[in-house]
Symmetry: C2
Subunit: 369 residues, 2 copies
């Protein structure tokens, strides 16, 4: 672990068995296991808990270091003593989504009925199901009301869904680089990723056991990765440079980078989970095909909505639509469009504007106070 | 053939054997066969010839109908009697690029030395090589100077390269939705397409014979197709609608559309050609890593540069860069950014602004006259 006075230090992921969960579509998920991490201390009044929600390929390890690791959690720049999510003040909870493959129940989980991984027999889970699972963990911790739910990208969708599903159980809501529903273009990129997995001869209808469809999953990640970066950030990082070393399958540095991203992804992610989680993303529709503001009429939280001008995957217009629909409901909304060149991934990278916006939003008194 | 008084009527693709071509990299391409079509009549002075250049998956069949076909050539809306490229006035030549698979020499051509298709032994061809091959055909036709060279996307690159390679052999140059070189992002999308083909178990290092890597090529086309459309045009066309019929591998209409695009593409395109032509695109660099305007110092043509505001694959800034570099060289440039919502594919779809711009540009007297 690199020395850093602002670091949380060593952390570990725990797994909580919560019994079962009835899913939106009526199926029952058993077992309901949730992988999670916590940072900071829960106050006696249990009123300082913040739930952080991860994006597509993220996990419960948001901050600090796992023993022996050189790399910290995915939002370490924003979570720690004195940071935006100040662990001296707040009790931070970060969970892995169900359907994923990082410790919570998902397709790689052993199905107690068969003794084998669920694989493709794992039930479809929605963003709402993910949020319902988180709620069960929060209840298990004895927390009645969250001080805040926050997340970027798919994490932002979960935060939004919390505000709709449990309006009385969160005070503040932070939604970054996200949307109330995927456009046809956003669905398309996920669709190509899924089709790449389905085209892999190792796919075997999802029951691939120990020989996963690596090439298909790697391709899915490569497509995805392009959409996470901006034209400018790719130019700056790679331009038209040739690849380093003797790589025969690509003529360009950006090609070898994408190949590396694809190859390393398959070691840390499950192909079925990729399909389940991208489907949850694509099926998420907060407006449910109606007018978005009408579907938000029961919402009560204070909102901070952040969008990035260079994010072409989740363009700022989608964040503005959310902000407008909340304002129609007379909800307090701070909308912040940040000029930062890193594309959709901007929310994962430290930038002062995002850091300060979150800090001030959490510290400001609530509308009702 | 649908009745249409503005149609050229029935046309056919011819193939001309032009011997051999020494490529930029020193290899010699034998045989040099060029597939082409012509529309209209060459004037006695041979001063009314216009060369039209196609994009990645295009061919020599730019206008009119092949016998028995219900669908006309790819630029039929712009080429015909009284149209932008008026066949009552001009003699239009349209060729298939070398490296392609639509009649000109490419990986599917039989290598006379082996009696088998070249496959992966076909030499690398550049945009400059494509243009040199076209020049040989033009010479063969006895045409000293083209009235105009025109094209969109990769066709625009060929038009640009003509103006650099043969400044004394064209009068006017039309470059639509194109660029002087691919950015890292543009390379990336092609790279993923190539990797999808290379990942297909039927790839066999390019020597796949009669069992081509269909799934890989279909994936490549799917990725490409997303980049040809705009966010708005996809929303309008598909939105979040479910697929028609009982399609089990996708939950969305846009998914079934992309699958269809991929599946039909493999019947009309060769996987090796896809790799060769996308590499030609990615390696094209008119500025050759230096200042673009300096590399254009010998250019003499009049230019019409058209960009589309909704084209995020070849964004307008790339067209503006070309226009500026030409203006630095005191060349007459008409730059036209068109608001048309169809994304990169806009240049293939009839719109009055593009139609009129081309018409007026061709009819206006040249700078030197």
């Amino acid at each position: 672990m690199p020395e850093n006075k602002n670091s949380i230090g060593i952390v570990e992921t725990k797994v909580q068995d919560l019994g079962e969960l009835t899913l939106e579509n009526g199926s029952i998920l058993v077992p309901l296991e949730i992988a999670y991490e916590t940072y900071g201390r829960l106050s006696e009044q249990k009123d300082n808990a913040i739930l952080i929600c991860h994006a597509l390929s993220g996990d419960a390890h948001a901050a600090g270091y796992h023993k022996g690791d050189a790399k910290p959690g995915w939002w370490n720049e924003y979570v720690g003593p004195g940071k935006s999510f100040d662990t001296d003040k707040y009790f931070i909870i970060s969970t892995n989504v169900i359907g994923g493959c990082k410790g919570s129940s998902g397709p790689t989980t052993i199905n107690p009925k068969t003794g084998k991984p669920f694989g493709s027999s794992f039930p479809f889970v929605s963003i709402t199901d993910m949020v319902n699972a988180q709620k069960k963990l929060i209840e298990h911790m004895g927390i009645e009301k969250l001080f805040c739910v926050a997340g970027g990208s798919m994490g932002g969708m979960q935060a939004l869904q919390w505000s709709v599903s449990f309006p009385n159980h969160l005070k503040k809501c932070i939604v970054i680089a996200s949307t109330s529903e995927h456009s046809a273009q956003q669905i398309s990129f996920n669709e190509v990723g899924r089709q790449a997995i389905l085209s892999d001869p190792f796919w075997n209808n999802g029951d691939y056991g120990d020989t996963p469809p690596k090439k298909g999953l790697a391709l899915a990640r490569m497509v995805g990765h392009i959409t996470y970066l901006s034209d400018d950030s790719m130019r700056e990082k790679f331009g038209r440079k040739p690849p380093k070393g003797n790589i025969k399958t690509t003529d360009f540095a950006v090609g070898s980078y994408l190949l590396y991203q694809g190859e390393t992804f398959v070691d840390r992610f499950d192909a079925n989970s990729y399909i389940y989680v991208t489907k949850a993303l694509d099926h998420f529709s907060l407006g449910k095909g109606r007018i978005l503001s009408e579907n938000l009429s029961g919402v009560k939280a204070d909102f901070l909505i952040i969008a990035y001008s260079s994010d072409w995957l989740y363009p700022p217009y989608q964040s503005r639509e959310i902000a407008k629909a909340l304002e129609v409901n007379a909800l307090p909304v701070t909308f912040c469009e940040i000029n930062f060149s890193k594309g959709h991934d901007s929310f994962l990278i430290f930038n002062t504007e995002q850091s300060n916006s979150i800090k001030h939003f959490l510290e400001s008194s609530s509308w009702g106070e």
